[in-house]
Symmetry: C2
Subunit: 146 residues, 2 copies
């Protein structure tokens, strides 16, 4: 396997009242994603979707990433491989959040439920497509339901 | 907005019978994700999940990315902003696929339904968590159901 760099640049930035990472409830949190102005036309028709997927750079993650972590930082959860968790401290710190799209104004998306802090660089915006992004009857271990 | 580079390196590679991109059915396709050997411990406990999310570099995408595209390459679908589609040709070409995890052997994941071609660099593996990654009653325009 090569160690060749794969480079991206931010397409936008998160504006949120949430200023630092925490294991906290954020499902009601309303924030904004400010897309670079020149990319505003790339958002056209996104308001036809109720939900979007946001990929973002977890720019405050700890480096180097640990190989194993306690899910949600809770020692009761046992030590798991980091790929078996949603820990922000992972080899490539890319966050993936599915959020409700409340409004689009030009290059600004108002969303609900985004667990990325203020100032987070955004990598991609995708529409959430039921049936493609969702799985019926998927199973997961008990810690994910705590 | 800064143009600062955000750099990642592949954590693995896709091994698939699918050798080039196409608008084709792949839901039954079985392929392998070969994770870099030194990262094998980071997969521990992933077999407790029925499905995983794969983030990958769409390394064969066209540059520069267009601002608008016809979803699924079909002119009947009209021109949409690229962020309102799942086109591989997007500002940061990162693919996101949810696939069934059939088996884990050491550093190799056998999966079903991965729409990434042979040789694709893998950026991240995440467990699919029902309720976090899925949305009930999400809505999307008709072209997504064609």
């Amino acid at each position: 396997m090569t160690g060749k760099e794969i480079a991206f640049t931010a397409v936008g930035i998160v504006r949120s009242r949430r200023k630092k990472p925490a294991h906290r409830k954020y499902s009601d949190l309303i924030s904004e994603i400010v897309i670079n102005k020149e990319l505003a036309p790339a958002l056209d028709h996104i308001e036809e979707f109720s939900h979007i997927i946001v990929l973002w750079w977890i720019h405050k993650s700890h480096r180097p990433a640990p190989m194993k972590v306690h899910p949600r930082g809770n020692p009761e959860n046992g030590l798991m491989g980091v790929f078996a968790t949603r820990s922000p401290d992972r080899p490539n710190p890319i966050g993936k959040s599915t959020v409700r799209l409340l409004e689009r104004r030009g290059n600004v998306l108002k969303v609900q439920g985004l667990d990325a802090i203020d100032g987070t660089p955004v990598l991609d915006i995708k529409p959430y497509i039921p049936g493609y992004d969702s799985v019926e009857n998927a199973t997961a271990p008990p810690w994910t339901r705590k």
